[in-house]
């Protein structure tokens, strides 16, 4: 077992598709929460292969996409300061703020670096004691422990020149926000497997009960997604609503407890603005006052101005599953990954950007249906 290629077996995928076709009798709308899942569904052509009764809508699941513009502007402002090394994950650097992206700031001479891990940023701070190293710490619950560990490590080493801009969003409050919208079309969820690897399943039982909606914690490979969809459809067809775990090989019922402890050591829950949506109560993480020295937003005084999103962008409706990327008049014309108008086009895991990359395949499939 390598735990990867086995889950890309086309024969097994066909068998799953066949089983889904046999099971489904009515139209169902299912939302996959995570952008990584959207990416796999489109990349492996699963959207076109599913029976036409099943509509997959794509959730807000990309933390890079939903990072508010003003935080990016703040990072760019800091990156331009002489003694600052600004670093983050690759996809964050490409995302435009109100004027430019961090990569453009780099082209203009700012010291901006792409790192694989926040722990590398701590090393960088150790190696450059005369510089301020700032890590743009973006992520869902999946990434929060790594970002928290970086602060814990810097604290243990007594580093004074390391800080983070925390742009952390939480998934369950966003799912609740979607479900409580009277316009919602979502009848079931594939929950984000790696978020649950950290947090466990407990947060979803109340949502299942309150909104009577099936939730299946699902992985990211084609077989995982098809298995998850089959589990959801079986529930829907029987008018059941349960919390089930497709991704039990890595998701434990209680999640990863040491990881949760690292998060609560460094962060506290706060209200959070989601790019393309609104402020969602209790849906973000901020650095605790105790660790304020490691909070770049408190450590440095940055003149802040709030910026407005493009008004013709339908990002909100797309991220709630009400519209598809191809429903937008700006798609592929005024709005492209190179100059996005809104959140889902900004990173490769946003649903609009995913559609843009695989546009020709999707377009052909939709024509074939008509």
């Amino acid at each position: 077992m390598k735990y990867l290629t086995e889950y890309r077996d086309p024969v097994l995928a066909a068998q799953y598709l066949d089983e889904i076709k046999k099971t489904v009798t009515k139209p169902w709308t299912i939302m996959e929460v995570c952008g990584g899942q959207t990416h796999s569904l489109v990349k492996y052509g699963l959207l076109q292969m599913l029976p036409k009764e099943i509509t997959m809508v794509h959730g807000p699941g990309c933390p890079v996409c939903v990072t508010p513009t003003h935080l990016i502007d703040r990072a760019i402002y800091l990156a331009k300061q002489n003694n600052v090394i600004m670093c983050s994950f690759g996809d964050m650097l490409r995302v435009p703020g109100s004027e430019k992206s961090l990569l453009q700031a780099k082209a203009e001479g700012a010291d901006v670096r792409i790192l694989y891990s926040p722990l590398e940023a701590v090393k960088l701070a150790q190696q450059n004691p005369d510089k301020e190293v700032v890590f743009f710490a973006v992520g869902f619950e999946t990434t929060a422990p790594a970002n928290a560990l970086s602060v814990i490590q810097a604290h243990q080493l007594g580093l004074k020149n390391y800080s983070i801009i925390a742009s952390h969003v939480l998934v369950p409050p966003a799912m609740e926000a979607l479900l409580s919208d009277p316009e919602t079309v979502v009848q079931a969820f594939l929950a984000a497997g790696h978020v649950c690897t950290i947090m466990g399943n407990s947060e979803y039982y109340p949502i299942v009960e309150k909104y009577k909606v099936p939730i299946v914690v699902t992985g990211f490979e084609p077989i995982d997604l098809l298995h998850g969809i089959l589990m959801v459809v079986r529930q829907l067809e029987k008018s059941e609503y349960k919390m089930e775990n497709q991704y039990a090989r890595v998701v434990r019922e209680r999640g990863n407890v040491p990881a949760q402890e690292a998060i609560t050591e460094i962060f506290e829950i706060s209200n959070r603005m989601w790019r393309g949506m609104d402020v969602i109560p209790q849906s973000g993480l901020e650095v605790k006052e105790k660790y304020a020295l490691f909070d770049a937003t408190k450590k440095f005084n940055v003149p802040l101005k709030e910026t407005k999103e493009n008004e013709t962008c339908i990002a909100g409706a797309i991220m709630k599953g009400l519209k598809k990327p191809l429903d937008c008049a700006n798609f592929g014309t005024l709005c492209k990954p190179s100059h996005p108008l809104g959140a889902p086009m900004v990173s490769s895991e946003g649903s609009c950007a995913t559609y843009y990359h695989f546009y020709s395949a999707i377009n052909e499939a939709e024509k074939a249906e008509v």
Binding site: Y7, L12, G61, F89, P118, V138, P145, H227, R249
Partner: protein, 110 residues
């Protein structure tokens, strides 16, 4: 962004004072230094799920097989329905048999 991939732990380093638990993990043919602080029970040769340089879970081999064998088990259940020795066959309607099969599957899944 939430991309995480499985890799095998090749070796676990002795923990240095003030530093976290680290190890060498083989990820698709590449060996990287990975933080093992959040998987205290992980041993050499275990597969762990790695996200941004940090191992966040130990991959459970038994559970890993379930997705791959799920359909096969479903088909075996179908065969059970059709076998005359089995009590399921005595149930008169298809709905009842499906219900019974689902109960077995649910037991297997839990």
């Amino acid at each position: 962004m939430c991309l995480a991939i499985p890799g095998r732990i090749k070796s676990i380093e002795e923990q240095k004072e003030g530093y976290m638990r680290m190890g060498k993990v083989e990820l698709g043919g590449i060996v990287k230094d990975i933080n093992l602080q959040l998987v205290p029970d992980a041993k050499e040769n275990d597969y762990v799920l790695v996200h941004v340089g940090v191992a966040i879970s130990i991959v459970d081999e038994e559970e890993a097989k379930r997705s791959l064998e799920f359909l096969q088990q479903m088909n075996e259940l179908d065969e059970l329905y059709n076998s005359p020795e089995e009590p399921y066959d005595k149930l008169s309607t298809k709905e009842e048999r499906v219900k019974q099969g689902d109960e077995i599957i649910n037991k297997m899944m839990s």
